[in-house]
């Protein structure tokens, strides 16, 4: 072998860029998280793990973790289930599948910020179409009977709908009981189309002959064939979809920024929004960086768990 150095020239630029653009920022953030640096200051003080101590002790940050986790636990299962369900339904269609795909994928393609403004109007307690529609059902006995449960023999005023008809319908984004749920609903509405596309791709890779074999073996109902063929064969897709959905849900920001600003009373104070508020709005780079590092750790752990514990079981 000659002592050629060409290989350094081949991998050098790629490695340099990777370090500069991907790895360095993490180290910078990790370093900053140990300081009280603010942008524009000439110097900073080392504060050790004080920022992290704050993160795990103060109530507002506890609310942040709980908001983020609740959001993830709401959005991931529902958007994954809806994605799978719609993919199964669409793939069983002979005609019209393309149209459904396009329609369900529309929210994924749209700018979430623009969509958030539309939702803000729709959910407005006074002029919004959502409460308008709900209110208009109160004096129609058919809808009222169905939604309030009075047809099933329940006392109508004890049901959510019956009570809301008497008093008022919720301030979807202004009530801390509903705000996070509403944000999660928008997240699901926006995200399940993406999961659907991933599942559709996964479904095309299931060999047709396996379904034929299942038919021959006596898996007569669609549910039996789903259990015997579809679900196991979708294993790798499941892992991917759940990982991607979790990461995307942890990253939720635009709807919170546009609709609630983290409120009311920090009920929608999710991690990325907190990062933005501390690090950018209030120029507290230290605590902002600390949140970033914790966020990164969460996502990393989540990914590693999926790769090492779940992935092993889905590749046969």
């Amino acid at each position: 072998m000659s002592k050629s150095r060409a290989h350094y020239w081949f991998i050098g630029p790629a490695v340099a860029l990777m370090i500069l653009l991907l790895i360095m920022p993490i180290f910078v953030a990790a370093t900053l998280s140990m300081t009280d640096y603010s942008l524009g200051n000439s110097g900073f003080n080392w504060v050790g793990i004080e920022n992290y101590e704050k993160l795990f002790s103060r109530r507002s940050y506890q609310k942040m973790f709980s908001a983020s986790l609740t959001y993830v636990l709401l959005v991931v299962p529902i958007s994954v289930a809806l994605g799978l369900g719609s993919a199964l339904l669409i793939s069983s269609l002979r005609i019209g599948g393309e149209m459904y795909k396009a329609v369900f994928f529309l929210p994924v393609m749209a700018t979430l910020l623009a969509m958030a403004i539309v939702w803000e109007f729709a959910l407005n307690p006074i002029v919004g179409v959502v409460n308008d529609v709900l209110r208009s059902g109160c004096d129609k006995s058919l809808i009222y009977g169905l939604l309030s449960g009075s047809w099933l023999g329940y006392e109508p005023t004890t049901s959510w709908y019956g009570a809301a008809c008497i008093k008022k319908f919720p301030l979807w984004l202004g009530d801390k009981q509903y705000a996070l749920g509403t944000i999660a609903f928008i997240g699901i509405w926006q995200g399940f189309g993406f999961n659907m596309v991933l599942y559709l791709a996964g479904l095309t890779s299931v060999p047709r002959e396996l379904y034929h074999a299942a038919h021959m073996d006596g898996a007569d109902s669609a549910w039996e064939r789903f259990k015997l063929v579809t679900w196991p064969m979708l294993g790798p897709t499941n892992v991917f979809v759940i990982t991607i959905s979790s990461i995307r849900s942890f990253q939720v920001f635009d709807t919170v920024e546009a609709l609630t600003g983290g409120g009311p009373s920090k009920s929608t104070y999710v991690m990325v929004y907190a990062m933005f508020e501390k690090g950018v709005k209030q120029n507290l780079l230290g605590i902002g960086s600390a949140i970033t590092i914790v966020f990164l750790a969460f996502v990393l752990i989540l990914t590693l768990v999926q790769v090492y514990f779940v992935n092993r079981k889905v590749h046969y």
């Binding site: 060999p207 396996l210 034929h212 038919h215 021959m216 073996d217 006596g218 898996a219 196991p232 064969m233």
Partner: protein, 389 residues
Amino acid sequence: MAGIKLRQVTKEYGSLNVLNSIDLDVADGEFLTLVGPSGCGKSTTLRIIAGLETQSTGDVEIDGVLVNDVRPSLRDLAMVFQSYALYPHLTVQQNLMTPLRLRDLDFWQRLPLLGYLVPGRRAKMAKIQEEVRNVAEVLKIVPLLNRKPGQLSGGQRQRVALGRAMVRNPAAFLMDEPLSNLDASLRVHMRAELSELHRELQSTFIYVTHDQAEALTMSDRIAVMMDGDLLQLGTPDEVYKYPNDIRVAEFIGSPKMNILPGVVDPNGQVTCLGFVLDQSLEGTAQRPEQGPVSVGLRPEHLALRPDDTEGCFAGKLTYKENLGSDVFLHLETEGLEQRVVLRVKPHEANLVKLGQNIFYGAEPGKMILFGADGKRVGFSAQQSDGKPD
């Protein structure tokens, strides 16, 4: 065990006719092969029998019962697929148990965990396990029972797929090119094994292949299909010796039959490449009509001649294909587009050189005439009814 009947079965995909009125009568315990080039409709026919596809018109009968509207699992057939179609997440044992579980356990007994509490499950599972064990022993796959399909070789997967078909003890086995994913030597080995299995099980086998060698070696009868038509149904010997269509003649046999242009004159004599052929065509009942015909000659029915004697063709040797036991000589003949192939013994082949002009003649009585429509001329009713000899 059961006979299977197809009556005027057709299949259309939109405006495309895949099957044109197929009539087929498979006897109980018979090994019948559907053979033809890809796209001829043989797999579609098999899937229609299985119930995985519905025919456009016509009837399918199994054991005398009309099954047009019967779902696949209730037709009591088992199928072996080209890709084996084993469930990759289940072990071999679980794969073999699947058809029995689905047939013998009810919905509640199949539930995970809860199923164990349903009465009667334990006895049924014990029976299922015993049946699986028996089949695994017959196929010699007992040591593989705890592996997953991904850990098996092609031949082992093939056996497992066979096993999954066997455990239910079905009325008939349907096989869709089961050997085409195996390597050449294993394929030859499995041919023999499948034939033995058929003899042991005494069950009806319907076997689909594009490989005419598999069809000839294993079957009781062969059904040659092309372009959605069933061209000929007969024993391997019949189909080889008396192909009733020029397409069958060219498809069955390797290397394929030599087709030479010929003319029938008003006296009924056949002239081919300038020579008058001898008239004693084997099995010919009627004299061919006047006009152009195709003369079919198998490579083994042509022989080298030492010199340019009477009734002798000439050609230039362009290629020697040495198979060890035999040598195929490829000859270019003037006035012929395709090459003529001769099958000779190695010591004969040693006498001729590439580029040399050589003389050859046909064995008397072995040639087959095809009319302008591609049908065999002088074709007697005896050989066309498709019954074994």
